[in-house]
């Protein structure tokens, strides 16, 4: 029996540089930075005071009034992204078979904004003053639950929490659910809203964040020699996956095929990636094998590219291990140069970018690339978008805990598939 083909039919990016497919992609190709001085809280006594926040997110456009106060920002992003992705796919909730529609979302941190408010109330006013519904939003799975509630989607409802690789694993598992016949359609990707005083302090004290406070837009500079850490971002990247049969039966034109994915655990260190890149390279090899693709077919790499010394050097080594000399011929770009690191949402937004590269034949650049690092010597698509046909792309995501997850996407070629 032929394996079920799983295709991407809808895209819902909620990002600091644009909300919705067209706004996001035109900003990404223009190399727009979403970074700015932090506005969400007073960061004046923090070493790092830069983040890529979504300044123009209006939750009331996506949620009912009574849900606004009961939902954390990461849940609101997920609902907004789902609404955009369903519309982009030409689907209405009423057209979906409820129990055949899965929701599989990646999220690293969860409802930390509400949690911190609740903690402040607990410490300042006592246990009687904790907002009752905050305990629900602390739960990392509340975004997927709210999506099910908002759109009446009753199929498997899962949340995948593997830190910064969460969304790649979510997309992979959503694909598996469709392939195994447990669902026809899946809402998947990732969401995160963790630019909170506590989370930010933790990353800052770890010295993982850029302290280029005087020039926020230049702070995230993956693969550039002058990089000094990542910039925290927030957002959601939601995709609609369908079995090919389901998509064609309703007359939809797929964007791309989810060809395969793989995930490995480094078992090396909680936050420092294995510097030799061997584990990440193995994840790339396994993902290509799962996709039935060979390294020679890969036209583009969406990098994890965090702008930290440890990641960027390791990732460059991993690509050389996986692709050999061809690594120098494959364009590699990092969306995090513009959006910062959106943690559990990152791989969802990056998968959307890969799909749009296939659709449009354009690669977004890695911005702020000025000073080459001898340890990072691949083609990072510096500063300018580039016209480049993409048939097969890989999207890397490497999370704290040593979770390396790689997704392989293949352009949907209608003519070829008709044969």
């Amino acid at each position: 029996m032929r394996e079920t083909t799983v295709v991407v039919t809808g895209l819902g990016p909620v990002t600091a540089i644009g909300i919705g497919r067209e706004a996001f992609w035109s900003a990404a190709l223009a190399g727009k930075s979403g970074a700015a001085p932090i506005s969400g809280f007073d960061a004046s006594n923090y070493t790092s005071r830069v983040a890529a926040e979504i300044a123009d997110f209006h939750p009331e456009r996506f949620l009912e009034p009574k849900e606004l106060r009961n939902t954390d920002r990461f849940t609101q992003f997920a609902v907004a992204g789902t609404q955009l992705a369903l519309a982009d796919a030409g689907l209405t909730p009423a057209a979906l078979a409820p129990y055949r529609t899965a929701v599989v979302l990646g999220c690293g941190v969860g409802g930390v904004l509400m949690q911190e408010q609740a903690l402040a109330a607990l410490y300042e006013k006592g246990p009687q003053r904790v907002r009752p519904t905050s305990v629900i939003q602390v739960n990392v799975s509340s975004a997927a639950g709210e999506v099910a509630l908002a759109f009446g989607l009753k199929g498997p409802n899962l949340t995948v929490a593997t830190a910064c690789s969460s969304a790649n694993n979510a997309i992979g598992i959503a694909c598996d659910l469709i392939r195994s016949g447990r669902a026809d359609v899946a809402v998947t990707g990732g969401t995160e809203a963790a630019i909170s005083p506590l989370t930010f302090a933790g990353f800052a004290c770890m010295r993982a964040l850029s302290t280029r406070n005087d020039d926020p837009r230049a702070a995230s500079r993956p693969f550039d020699k002058g990089r000094d850490g990542f910039v925290m971002g927030e957002g959601a990247g939601i995709l609609i996956l369908e079995s090919l049969e389901h998509a064609l039966a309703r007359g939809a034109t797929p964007y791309a095929e989810v060809a395969g994915y793989a995930t490995v655990a480094e078992g090396y260190h909680m936050v420092i990636p294995n510097p030799d890149g061997a584990d990440a390279a193995e994840a790339i090899r396994l993902a290509l094998a799962a996709a039935g693709a060979v390294p020679e077919e890969v036209d583009y790499v969406s990098a994890h590219g965090t702008s930290t010394h440890a990641n960027d050097c390791m990732e460059t080594r991993a690509l050389k291990l996986a692709f050999g000399a061809r690594a120098y011929q494959i364009p590699v770009s990092s969306l995090k140069s513009m959006l910062g690191h959106t943690l559990g949402a990152a791989a969802g937004i990056e998968a959307i970018a890969c799909v749009l590269s296939m659709q449009t034949g354009w690669l977004h650049p890695t911005i702020n690339y000025c000073d080459p690092d001898p340890e990072c010597d691949l083609d990072y698509v510096p500063n300018q978008a580039r016209q480049h046909p993409v048939r097969v792309a890989i999207s890397n995501a490497f999370g704290f805990g040593g979770n390396d997850s790689v997704l392989v996407l293949r352009r949907w070629d209608k003519a070829k598939r008709a044969l």
Binding site: K66, R69, Q128, R131, P132, T133
Partner: protein, 81 residues
């Protein structure tokens, strides 16, 4: 506080908490049936009352709250004169 001014304050809290236009909230508005709150909404509203008026509402007393005026009446009995 008079019942009238308490009803007005309850309406203001509901308007703020649930983003409902204040003009849509009347003394006789039923909190669940007319204003669209669900059980989560009600429990959050009670938390707002407790914070605003520095008191604790028992589970039983909540059952008496159907309308804005019911809430104001209950609060009037509990707020120290």
């Amino acid at each position: 506080m008079t019942l009238e001014s308490l009803s007005q304050r309850v309406a203001e809290l509901i308007a703020d908490e649930f983003q409902i236009p204040i003009d849509n909230i009347h003394e006789n508005s039923r909190i669940i049936d007319d204003l669209g709150l669900d059980s989560f909404g009600l429990i959050n509203l009670v938390a707002r009352f407790e914070e605003e008026f520095h008191l604790t509402l028992s589970d039983d007393s909540l059952k008496a709250i159907r309308t804005v005026r019911d809430a104001a009446t209950l609060l009037q009995t509990l707020i120290p004169a």
